[in-house]
C-alpha cells in the first residue's frame, strides 16, 4: 500500500488555448495508504480524468503525482504498479481463473510455488477457490469483476487499486452482493483503493472517504456521515441524500436570521457580506408539529409522496418549498395548514452556496 498525493494537479485537454477548458481544475489531494476512497459525481465531472491521471493514462497538464513521495508524473501505467478494475469486466478470455490470477505474477517472473500459494490465498478470499480450473470467460460478470480485483490483490506491493465504475454492467440482483464482497475484500487486504462511481450511495456504501466532484472541481471530501450532516455546499447537499437537502432563502435583519418574517434561531451565524443567505436543513430533521414554539413556522401541505415506511411531505413555508420526511405511522395532518419545526442544531448556514460555520 502506498500513499498517493496529487499536488496542484490540473488537466486541460486543450492546454494553452484561448478558452482553456479544464477537465480537472488544479487541486491537491492525499489518499492515505490502506484506505478506500470514492470519487463521485455526475458524468463529465472530472472523476475519470483524475483516475486516469493516477493510473498514468493521462499526463496532467500541470502538477505532480506522488506515490509514497516519489514523483511518478512522467511514468507510464506499467511503471506505476497499480491495479485497475474497469467498467466492463476484463479478463483474459483464453485463460482459466487460476491463470488469470497468476498472470501478473508470471509477468513478474515469480517462481511457481510462490505464485501458487498467492493465487490460492486470494482466490479463497474471493470465493473463487473452487472454480480455479474453469475458463474465466464462463464466469458471470460479477465474478469476472472479482477476478479483475484479484489480479490486483495478488501483487503484494500494489500501490493502489483503481476501480472505475465496476458495478455498471452487473445485474441489479448481483450488484448488492458484489458491493458487499468488494467491501469485505478491501477490509481484509487493505490496499489503497480509489473507487470511481456516479452513484453516490454506492460510493458511500463502499468507501471510507468520499470525494464529491463537479465540473472538474473537487467539491468536498469527507466521510459519508460528514457529507450528509454538513455538506460544504448547496450542491453537495443536493447531491447527497434523498430527498435532497432543503435550502431556504433567509433574510438577515439586525444580525438576526428571519424566515418569512419570523426569527430562525441557529447555532451558527451567517456573515454579513454575502449576497444570498440560505439555511440548509435535511428533510429528515424537519418536524411537523401542532404546537407553536421556537423555530416553528406555518406550513401548507402541497403534496404527499408515499415512499412506504416514510412519506415525504411537500410543503410551502414562507413561499418556499420545503420537504419533510415523516414516518408512515405519523399519518398525514388532516389540516391544510400546520406548523413545521426546524431544529436549531440542524439548520446550517450557507452563504453564496457555501457552508459557513462561524459561531
Amino acid at each position: 500500500m502506498t500513499q498517493l498525493d496529487i499536488v496542484d494537479v490540473g488537466h486541460s485537454y486543450t492546454p494553452g488555448s484561448e478558452e482553456e477548458r479544464w477537465a480537472l481544475k488544479p487541486l491537491g489531494l492525499t489518499f492515505e495508504a490502506g484506505k478506500t476512497y470514492a470519487l463521485v459525481g455526475p458524468s463529465g465531472c472530472g472523476k475519470t480524468t483524475l483516475l486516469n491521471i493516477l493510473s498514468g493514462l493521462v499526463r496532467p497538464s500541470q502538477g505532480q503525482v506522488l506515490f509514497d513521495g516519489a514523483d511518478v508524473t512522467a511514468l507510464p501505467t506499467k511503471a506505476r504498479n497499480i491495479a485497475q478494475v474497469f467498467q466492463f469486466p476484463v479478463i483474459y478470455q483464453s485463460m482459466t481463473v487460476y491463470e488469470n490470477l497468476a498472470f501478473p505474477l508470471q509477468c513478474r517472473r515469480w517462481d511457481k510455488a510462490r505464485i501458487d500459494a498467492k493465487v490460492h490465498q486470494v482466490a479463497e478470499a474471493l470465493d473463487l477457490d473452487d472454480r480455479l480450473r474453469q475458463p474465466a470467460r464462463r464466469l458471470t460478470a460479477d465474478d469476472k469483476q472479482l477476478i479483475s480485483l484479484g489480479r490486483g490483490l495478488v501483487r503484494d506491493d500494489v500501490a493502489a487499486v483503481l476501480m472505475d465504475e465496476p458495478l455498471t454492467v452487473i445485474d441489479p440482483q448481483l450488484k448488492h452482493s458484489l458491493r458487499r464482497k468488494i467491501r469485505e475484500i478491501t477490509e481484509q487486504f487493505r490496499p489503497t483503493v480509489i473507487y470511481v462511481t456516479h452513484d453516490q450511495y454506492e460510493a458511500m456504501s463502499i468507501a471510507q472517504e468520499v470525494l464529491v466532484m463537479k465540473d472538474g472541481r473537487a467539491m468536498q471530501q469527507g466521510t459519508p456521515e460528514q457529507l450528509f450532516e454538513a455538506p460544504s455546499s448547496t450542491y453537495v447537499g443536493y447531491f447527497i441524500g434523498s430527498p435532497a437537502m432543503n435550502f431556504l432563502t433567509v433574510d438577515r435583519t439586525h444580525g438576526n436570521v428571519t424566515l418569512g418574517g419570523r426569527a430562525l434561531a441557529m447555532a451558527w451565524d451567517i456573515p454579513q457580506s454575502t449576497s444570498e443567505s440560505q439555511v440548509g436543513i435535511r428533510p429528515e430533521y424537519v418536524e411537523v408539529v401542532t404546537e407553536p414554539g421556537p423555530n416553528t413556522f406555518p406550513a401548507r401541505l402541497r403534496d404527499v409522496r408515499d415512499h412506504g415506511p416514510q412519506r415525504v411531505f411537500e410543503m410551502e413555508v414562507a413561499g418556499q418549498l420545503i420537504r419533510a420526511k415523516v414516518p408512515r405511522e405519523n399519518g398525514i395532518p388532516a389540516l391544510e395548514e400546520f406548523l413545521v419545526h426546524l431544529p436549531r442544531a440542524k439548520a446550517l448556514p450557507y452563504a453564496d452556496g457555501r457552508l459557513v460555520l462561524h459561531s
Binding site: 441489479p172 459519508p224 450528509f228 441524500g241 434523498s242 428533510p283 403534496d303 404527499v304 409522496r305
Partner: protein, 362 residues
C-alpha cells in the same frame, strides 16, 4: 376501453414467464407493476404491446380480441428501460416519427412535437441526434415520443432503471405531473423499486415468477401484503422475515427474549408463524439482542445495517447516514407491535395497526 387479461400463460424453455395472469387495466389510471428482475413484468408489457405471443389466455380491449390485433394497430406506446430512440433521426424527427406514420398534418405534427418536448424539458434539443444526448435526455426523448401520440395504451418498462440516482429522483417527481392528465389512456409502469411503485401508482400489481400475487392500491399492498413474498418485494430493504412461535400469550422469535403478544396478534392461536418486520421497525439500541454487523449500505438518506443474530439475518434501517464499521457488535431492538404475522405457507394473517387512520395523499 378496459384492457383485460385473462389467464395469460407463457412458458419458454420450461420456464414460466407468465402464469395465469389475470388483470384489468382501466383508462385514466396509472398501474404500477412491481417485482424483482425476471418476475415477468417486461414479458407482460410485451404481450400487451403485441410484441410477444402467449401460449394461452385471452386479452381483450373494449370486449374485442386484442391478441389478434397486430402491433402497429394496437394504439400503444412503450418506453424501454434502455433508452431506445431511432439513432438516425434527430430529436424532432424521433418524436415526429409516430405522428408521421399516423398521417397527421405538418402543422399538427410540429405543434405536438414542440409541446411534448417542452413537457419533458427538451425544448431546445430538437436538432440533436440521440447519441449527442445524455442518458437522461435520451430517455426524455423516448418519453416525449410516447406522449406525443396520445395513444390509448402507454407502457413504461422500468424507464428510470438505467439513470443516475439523482436523475431518477427528479424524473420520478416529474412523472407524477406528467401522467396526471392522461385522460383515457391506460398507463402501465413497471419498476423494481417499492418507493416508485407506491409513489406513482393508482393501482399496484405485485408480480413474482410470472404470477400476479396481489393487486390493490399502494396503501393496501403496503399495509396488507398478501404473502411474505409480497411483503419483501414491496419493502426496500426487504421486510425481515423470520420464524417464530406464539405460545400462551408470548411471542418468541429467533434469538430474542419472549415478549407479550401485542394486541393485534392476541387472538391468534398458538403455533408456529412467520413474522415480518420492516427494517424501520428494528432499531439499534443501547440494550437488546446482540448482532454482528455484516454489511452496511447507504441508500438515499438512510443507512441499512445488516446484522446477524445467530443465524438469522436482520436489516435495520436508520434515518440519516452513519458510519457503522463491519464486524461491530450492535444491539438490536424489535418493535413487537409492528410484527406482521403470516402462516407457515406465507399467507398474511395479521397486520399491525397504525395509530392514525390512513388518509389518501392526494
Amino acid at each position: 376501453m378496459n384492457l383485460s387479461a385473462t389467464d395469460l400463460c407463457l412458458t419458454v424453455d420450461g420456464v414460466d414467464h407468465l402464469k395465469q395472469v389475470t388483470a384489468t387495466f382501466v383508462p385514466g389510471r396509472l398501474h404500477t407493476v412491481i417485482g424483482r428482475t425476471m418476475a415477468g413484468k417486461t414479458t407482460l408489457l410485451r404481450v400487451l404491446a403485441g410484441l410477444q405471443a402467449v401460449d394461452s389466455g385471452a386479452l381483450t380491449r373494449e370486449g374485442a380480441d386484442f391478441l389478434k390485433t397486430p402491433v402497429w394497430r394496437r394504439d400503444t406506446a412503450m418506453v424501454y428501460q434502455q433508452f431506445i430512440n431511432y439513432p438516425h433521426l434527430n430529436v424532432f424527427d424521433n418524436v415526429a416519427f409516430p405522428l408521421r406514420r399516423a398521417g397527421l398534418s405538418r402543422n399538427e405534427i410540429r405543434r405536438r412535437v414542440i409541446s411534448s418536448l417542452a413537457r419533458v424539458g427538451l425544448a431546445d434539443f430538437e436538432r440533436r441526434k440521440p447519441s449527442q444526448l445524455s442518458g437522461g435526455q435520451q430517455q426524455r426523448v423516448a418519453l416525449a415520443r410516447a406522449l406525443a401520440r396520445g395513444t390509448g395504451i402507454l407502457l413504461l418498462d422500468e424507464p428510470l432503471a438505467n439513470l443516475d440516482y439523482k436523475l431518477r429522483e427528479q424524473l420520478r417527481d416529474e412523472f407524477r405531473t406528467l401522467f396526471s392528465d392522461q385522460g383515457d389512456t391506460v398507463v402501465i409502469y413497471t419498476t423494481t423499486e417499492p418507493a416508485e411503485a407506491m409513489m406513482l401508482g393508482d393501482v399496484v400489481l405485485v408480480m413474482h415468477e410470472g404470477q400476479i400475487l396481489q393487486i390493490g392500491s399502494p396503501q393496501e399492498v403496503f399495509e396488507r401484503p398478501a404473502t411474505t413474498t409480497v411483503a419483501s418485494i414491496i419493502n426496500d430493504p426487504p421486510m425481515n422475515i423470520f420464524t417464530g412461535r406464539i405460545e400462551s400469550g408470548q411471542v418468541t422469535v429467533a434469538g430474542f427474549q419472549a415478549t407479550h403478544v401485542s394486541a393485534h396478534l392476541a387472538d391468534l392461536p398458538d403455533g408456529v408463524y412467520q413474522f415480518g418486520l420492516r427494517a424501520t421497525d428494528v432499531s439499534l439500541a443501547s440494550a437488546g439482542v446482540e448482532g454482528e454487523v455484516t454489511f452496511v449500505e447507504i441508500s438515499g438518506s438512510e443507512t441499512f445495517v445488516h446484522a446477524a443474530v445467530g443465524e438469522t439475518p436482520f436489516v435495520i434501517q436508520i434515518e440519516g447516514i452513519h458510519d457503522v464499521a463491519l464486524g461491530d457488535l450492535v444491539k438490536l431492538r424489535l418493535r413487537p407491535e409492528r410484527l406482521f404475522a403470516f402462516d407457515e405457507e406465507g399467507s398474511l394473517v395479521r397486520t399491525p395497526s397504525y395509530d392514525l387512520a390512513p388518509v389518501e395523499g392526494r
